[in-house]
Amino acid sequence: MLKQIFNILFFYLMGELVSWLIGGFLPGSVIGMVLLFVALSFKVVKPCDVRDVSLHLTEQMGLFFLPAGVGLMTAVAVIAENWAFLLLSSLISTILVIGMVGWMQQKTGKKEIKHG
């Protein structure tokens, strides 16, 4: 267990290091995620050496964003002033993303065998 915790922390640290090296262009945690994925894919790290901790962490993720989410209480004025933009841009963009990704994958992907 301790080894698994170390592995996750180590990749997080490496992610932060790379993030710093490239001028903070990408969040360190996201780079850490990619590094871990690459290390697993190239069998540098064995899946069983991160598996249990990874499943635990991702399962409890909802809890982890609460402290930042509660920061919403400081953004009430911003929401009240800009609700039209927040609502409109989110709705339009979400519809476009669903349509675009679905349509494009259907056009460019391999034909699937239909069942039934």
């Binding site: 990749f11 990619v34 962490l57 920061g71 927040l86 979400t94 669903i98 990704v101 994958q105």
Partner: protein
């Protein structure tokens, strides 16, 4: 007594406790709008207001939980690895579809923002809205947005996307299982995946894969696109 409310112990107990109750309520009622994250945030804010605790005090107290966000994003790398076998044979079309979807999502928000004349802070806050919350908050923070507001938008978009998604896909005559799963996960992260799983096992797995891909691509595209648009 007032002192006790200012402690780390109180902030941690409150956060975990409210989250557990919200999870329980969500599982019992199965109502999408009672999403545990939304409910927890609102309940904690209400309690803090009642006890006259300001956000800065709560933030310091709950830092231990906040720290876990980073490691949990890293752990997503393992989940992505588990699902990467679904990439086989479709790798180019999957990567390009998610990339184009990510760009369309980011640019559309920029354009709406420019038309309505809002600040760059607000644009950066909304841009990561289709990405799973922890990554979205990291992108928002890096791009100069308001991460807390991003978190709430992400959940709202997830609920909206998981409801409207199947309707749009049907309207566009998208029948491919991979395409359906990919679209749901790209636009509506975990909540879209929950809907995709109901469509079928392949849709669910591809949707899970799409969450990770969309996170990576959006993290890369947001700074590039915003930088390019500064010239216009």
């Amino acid at each position: 007594m007032d002192n006790l409310f200012q402690t780390e112990l109180f902030a941690l107990t409150l956060t975990v406790g409210v989250y557990l109750v919200s999870l329980w309520t969500y599982r019992k009622t199965k109502k999408k709008f009672l999403h545990p994250l939304l409910v927890s945030i609102l309940v904690i804010i209400a309690i803090l207001n009642m006890l006259h605790i300001d956000y800065a005090t709560y933030k310091t107290g709950s830092h231990l939980i906040h720290f876990m966000l980073g490691p949990s994003v890293v752990a997503l790398g393992y989940i992505l690895f588990e699902q990467s076998r679904y990439l086989k044979g479709n790798i180019v079309s999957i990567l390009s579809s998610v990339l184009v979807g990510s760009i369309v999502g980011i640019v559309s928000i920029l354009l709406v923002g420019r038309v309505l004349g809002v600040t760059d802070v607000l644009i950066a806050t909304v841009q990561p809205k289709s990405v799973t919350t922890p990554i979205a908050m990291a992108i928002s923070a890096k791009a100069g947005g308001i991460p807390a507001l991003t978190a709430v938008l992400v959940v709202a978009v997830g609920i909206f996307g998981s409801i409207i998604g199947p309707v749009i896909l049907k309207y566009l005559c998208v029948e491919s299982k991979i395409a359906k799963g990919l679209a749901m996960g790209s636009a509506a992260h975990g909540l879209g995946t929950a809907t995709a799983i109901q469509m079928g096992a392949i849709e669910g797995a591809i949707s899970g894969l799409a969450i990770g891909l969309m996170g990576i691509m959006t993290a890369i595209c947001v700074p590039i696109i915003n930088w390019l648009f500064h010239f216009f």
